[in-house]
């Protein structure tokens, strides 16, 4: 189990959310000490950028929005439990800063 011991976690946002958050490129968010989970990363992201609340996770249910995916280290983490520790191999590379946690707008037409 890897904790968010590094100073921050790199997060890649889809273009529309970068515009909304008024950032360019990746962002780096600081996690409170604890296990590196999907929820920990997203909580830290929303804490740093409150305008993103409700855009990635449904406000009422807290669930991932239907057309959002989470990737890291070439793995699809979208359907992992929010409070499950990220797989060790993934968590180690995120914690070290070698790889970002990616929030992806799913491909869908319209």
């Amino acid at each position: 189990m890897i904790t968010g011991s590094r100073s921050g976690v790199r997060v890649v946002l889809p273009a529309h959310l970068k515009t909304l958050a008024r950032v360019h490129g990746e962002v780096e968010v600081r996690l409170t000490d604890g296990t590196l989970t999907q929820r920990a990363v997203l909580d830290a992201l929303e804490e740093a950028y409150p305008v993103l609340r409700g855009t990635i996770r449904d406000r009422a249910t807290g669930k991932r929005r239907a057309f959002i995916r989470f990737y890291a280290c070439e793995r699809d983490l979208s359907n992992e439990a929010p409070d499950a520790p990220l797989p060790d191999a993934v968590a180690a590379r995120i914690a070290s800063g070698d790889e970002p946690f990616m929030v992806v707008g799913a491909m869908a037409g319209g």
Binding site: L20, V51, R53, G54, I56, I68, A108
Partner: protein, 368 residues
């Protein structure tokens, strides 16, 4: 110098069009919030620099934006539209109960008297109020918890609260496909206001709710007179929505979405007839606005400057507006991305923007 500002919400962003009072030369800025559905943009009657916009996508949900400089710059404000208390259920298309689920804001209605008060109409149908310029929202739960709400069903476009008429403390709202509702106590309690509406597919001629109301308008000087474009039928009420009578008269079809009232002539109204509920384009490929100067019944087509062949656009329910200049301006936007304007009460028309994304809403402001 007097300025006219048109706010066009589209399928891929919001646009701000500005002109002097001549209304023959327009500057277009945008897209604001490019790539997002902008269902509605509207300015405050108290301070025309204060604008609100509703942006939404299926990917990222709902965001409300506010501008305090007439749309030059925007700030995201509050977007928490969580239903208060138990969400409850309505009827789904198949007749089974389905929990209310927030999807988007269709309409924003700023107060006529308080700069920081604004109302928002949601899909699934609910009414919200903000008293701090959109930073936080409070649901007026008396509507969604009305005794008839479990029987409400969505229209084809969703179960949207799309019309908000403020005559505070009286408020009218309209919901597809539940009908019109009236509150006399600033939104705390509500009564259906649909008597006289008759809708195919509703076996009960006196059904209290279930009517697919597309849009309702009222002239500020005649608060008890309401004009309605229903799914089929153009209707009016002269007793604050308690009773409705049909005024479709000689329209070529009485299906349509928007309805508008002339700013200086309370008995002059406008509709855009659409072929049918299965053919969402003008009859015969001719885009015609119809005007009645007698409060309905007798209608005249307005065609000068509008395409009269091979035109197959639609005009959505919130995509028609009027300005308040002496020579009244009438505006509407189409699914083909045109915004048309008339500076002479509808006698002649010209496009003031072309090739925009599909237009979802049009509002207009006159800035002294």
């Amino acid at each position: 110098m007097t300025q006219v500002r048109v706010l066009a919400g589209t399928h891929k962003g919001g646009f701000v069009l500005t002109s002097d009072e001549g209304r023959d030369k327009w500057e277009v800025s945008g897209p604001h919030f490019g790539g997002w559905d902008v269902y509605h943009m509207k300015g405050s009657p108290v301070n025309p620099g204060r604008l609100y916009a509703s942006q939404n996508t299926g990917w990222f949900g709902q965001v409300i934006q506010r501008s305090d400089d007439g749309g030059v710059t925007w700030q995201p404000v509050g977007s928490d539209f969580t239903y208060a208390g138990e969400a409850g259920t309505h009827l789904w298309y198949d007749g089974t109960p389905r929990p209310f689920e927030f999807k988007r804001i269709w309409h924003l209605e700023p107060s006529r008297t308080d700069l920081d008060v604004v109302y928002a109409g949601a899909e699934d149908a609910a009414l919200y109020r903000s008293a701090d310029g959109g930073s936080t929202w409070t649901e007026l739960t008396g509507l969604r918890t009305h005794t008839t709400a479990p029987s409400w069903q969505p229209g084809a476009g969703g179960m949207c609260l799309h019309t908000i008429i403020l005559q505070e403390p009286r408020i009218f709202v309209a919901i597809s496909a539940a009908g019109t509702f009236r509150s006399d106590d600033a939104g705390q309690t509500w009564q259906p206001a649909n008597k006289g509406l008759h809708s195919e597919g509703i076996p009960d001629e006196d059904a209290e709710t279930g009517h697919c109301v597309h849009h309702v308008e009222a002239h500020p000087s005649r608060p008890d007179t309401l004009f309605m474009q229903k799914h089929w039928d153009v209707m009016r009420s002269d007793d604050g929505g308690l009773n409705w009578t049909e005024i479709s008269g000689n329209l070529p079809t009485d299906f349509g979405f928007p309805i508008a009232v002339h700013p200086h002539e309370p008995e002059t109204i406008y509709v855009v007839p659409i072929t049918s509920d299965s053919l969402h384009y003008p009859p015969d490929g001719r885009l015609r606005v119809y005007r009645s100067r007698s409060g309905g019944g007798d209608w005249e087509p307005l065609t000068a400057g509008l395409p009269q062949q091979d035109c197959y656009v639609n005009v959505y329910r919130d995509a028609m507006a009027v300005d308040t200049l002496d020579s009244a301006g009438i505006y509407f936007g189409t699914t083909g991305g045109q915004v048309y304007a008339s500076a002479d009460s509808g006698d002649t028309w010209a496009p003031i923007a072309r090739d925009l994304p599909a237009v979802l809403s049009v509002e207009v402001q006159v800035i002294p």
